[in-house]
């Protein structure tokens, strides 16, 4: 790809320091926005850029901002969602760790556009070291006149506060996050009303992901049109993809939208292929909540087109043969991975993280976990597989928040694409039991079987 946008200066030593960041064009977007543009113009620029929410839903940011109720006489809030807990996703953490000022800068410009004077960064409680880094960055920005009262001599004032979470995946959902920020249990709210009308403390609120807000600075710098020139179709700009699993080079990569998945996995610029010369079996392309795809379907769509890293291309084929870009948590599995065990693992995660507020999710996730546990441990029956599909279908769409869908999709898609593995577990319970009850789980119990998995490229 071309020049990185978000991670442009990441390799420069000391870039975490305000002085170094500033000398490389840092905070230029703040000056440009506050001194040369009106808040409306900043908003228009973001709309023009086609930036979409990077937290997972992919909702157009400009549109989200336009929903903010500006008629209300209550204060408005901008909340930065730094509660990154989606399995497979570690891009926000990387961004905040290496380029904290990129986020602060984005927060200032966005707050200016939204007419916000108080901004909260809701950060995962476990990211202790990031709090230090961000606090330092905020302090530096304040010392240099980019935060506080009358920034750069304009009428605009802004305070940024850090707020730690305490270990709850559900608080990544925007209304649960607001509840948690108000000091309550992280139970998602019933929508409507949407946060744009009744958000934090019942005031109009915008909640955006770290990566989304960090992209605002570069957008103002290069102009919305130029940003929209990057990428492909409605997936504009660049995206951070955090790659993990059975690959040679896990890590965070900034890619221009539209990069072929095949190139991303096998090129030495990115993941550099599957570890130990093994074969690609499956990929979860957007964090654990999105459907898993087998090797053939992640590389090429059902229509035999190249699968690209864009919102649209990954959704191609719907739930039958597609997935989603989600948060960009790219989990790669080689043929040693047992999809039943993996699905059990993810379902246990969702059971553990369900807030328990609405019945389908509270009861359904636990039920799926128990059935999967039986299958994995050689006690499954043939009807259990259909039962799982049925439970997943009953959770999906019937819950208060998208968590229910997120819990249902991994199960539904794993059975859709790797049904033989589930059947194998049921058919040969003894074999499964012997290996699972060994001392250590080293290698998988089931390899191969899917007619097209294990295709090796290059």
């Amino acid at each position: 790809m071309g020049k990185p946008v978000l991670l442009e200066h990441i390799r420069i030593p000391g870039i975490r320091q305000f002085g170094v960041y500033r000398s490389h064009g840092g905070y230029r977007p703040v000056e440009k926005a506050l001194l040369e543009m009106s808040p409306t113009e900043v908003g228009q620029e973001v709309t023009r850029s086609g930036l979409r929410g990077r937290g997972g839903a992919g909702f157009p940011t400009g549109l989200k901002w336009s929903f903010l109720n500006r008629k209300s006489d209550k204060p408005r809030y901008l909340v930065c969602n730094a509660d990154e807990s989606e399995p497979g996703t570690f891009k926000d953490r990387y961004l905040m760790e290496h380029l904290p000022h990129r986020l602060v800068e984005g927060l200032i410009v966005s707050s200016y556009a939204l007419g916000v004077n108080t901004c909260y960064i809701y950060i995962r409680g476990e990211f202790k070291y990031l709090v230090r880094i961000l606090e330092h960055a905020i302090r530096e920005a304040k010392e240099n006149g980019f935060l506080g009262e009358r920034i750069l001599g304009t009428d605009f004032s802004l305070e940024i506060h850090l707020h730690p979470g305490a270990g709850a995946y559900i608080c990544g959902e925007e209304t649960a996050l607001l509840e948690s920020l108000e000091g309550k249990r992280g139970n998602p709210r019933i929508k409507p009303p949407y946060p744009a009308y009744k958000g934090l403390y019942d005031c109009p609120t915008v909640v955006n992901n770290v990566e989304t807000l960090a992209a605002v600075g570069p957008i103002i710098n290069m102009g919305g049109e130029a940003y929209a020139g990057l990428g492909k179709g409605k997936s504009t700009g660049t995206k951070l993809i955090s790659a993990c699993g059975h690959i040679n080079r896990p890590g965070v990569y900034e890619i221009e939208m539209g990069l072929p998945v095949e190139e991303f996995i096998f090129s030495d610029e990115y993941c550099n292929g599957i570890r130990s010369g093994r074969h690609l079996k499956a990929v979860i392309p957007g964090g654990s909540s999105v459907p898993v795809l087998p090797a053939d379907l992640i590389l090429r769509t059902a229509k035999n087109e190249k699968r690209l890293l864009t919102y649209e291309s990954l959704e191609e084929g719907g739930f039958d043969s597609g997935s989603m870009l989600g948060s960009g948590g790219f989990i790669v599995y080689d043929e040693t991975a047992c999809m039943v065990r993996n699905t059990l693992n993810l379902t246990r995660f969702y059971r553990h993280e369900s807030c328990g507020q609405c019945s389908p999710c509270r009861e359904g996730t636990g039920w799926m976990e128990k059935v999967l546990w039986r299958i994995e441990h050689g006690e499954g029956r043939w009807k259990d597989i259909d039962l799982l599909v049925n439970i997943a279908r009953h959770i999906e769409g019937n819950t208060i928040c998208p968590f229910g869908d997120a819990a249902a999709w991994p199960v539904a898609s794993a059975i859709r694409h790797f049904r033989e593995e589930f059947e194998y577990h049921v058919e040969y319970p003894d074999e499964v039991r012997v290996i699972t009850h060994g001392n250590l789980v080293r290698e998988t119990r089931f390899t191969g079987g899917h007619p097209v998995s294990g295709i090796r490229f290059r």
Binding site: P75, E84, S85, E86, P87, G88, T89, F90, R93, T118, R124, G125, E126, F127, K128, Y129, V131, R132, E135, H161, L162, H163, P164, G165, A166, G167, A168, Y169, S180, L181, E182, G183, K184, R185, G186, Y201, S242, A243, C244, G245, H246, P250, G251, V252, S288, G329, I331, Y333, A337, N342, N345, L346, F349, H352, E353, C355, N439, L440, V441, R442
Partner: protein, 189 residues
Amino acid sequence: MITHRLHVKENRPVAFSEATLKKVRELIQQYPEGKQKSALLPVLHMAQEELGGYLSVDVMDYVASLLQLNPIEVFEVATFYSMFYLEPVGKYVIEVCRTAPCAICGGEEILEYLKEKLQIGVGETTPDGLFTLKTVECLGGCGYAPVLQVNTQFHEQLDQVAIDRLLDTLRKQAADPSSADLTWASQFC
């Protein structure tokens, strides 16, 4: 049977140090007037760290009185979030990530190794009160798997050698308290 036990109030006096109280007051200032409940999560972090390593009923009652809350509001919140401990824990809480990206890259082996090495099961504390072993869901270190955290300090790309080294370091740190690093919640203010 789910045995969430009913806790007992022991009425032991607990109080923050003057320095922490100052931080709490500053923290409350971050939020609009009358919204001091927002400070609950950070204050609970501080309380857990300063007042005994876990949240006893007395500690939670104290936090409730500080923030002018009903004690049940604090109980509800403290039981919801997985970072708050409701029972006593060891000096070092070792939490091993067990979610898929870590599990497929050796996380399960790491956990087994730790169990063997510390001779305790998940959720248990070593007899010397030094280590508590727990599992935790995705820590956001998937690319550097397997991952664990010790009192919210991350340790990544682990293998058995690294675990040995880590345990040694922690034991040494415990013997020499001046090098201990447990003061993380204070960083929030």
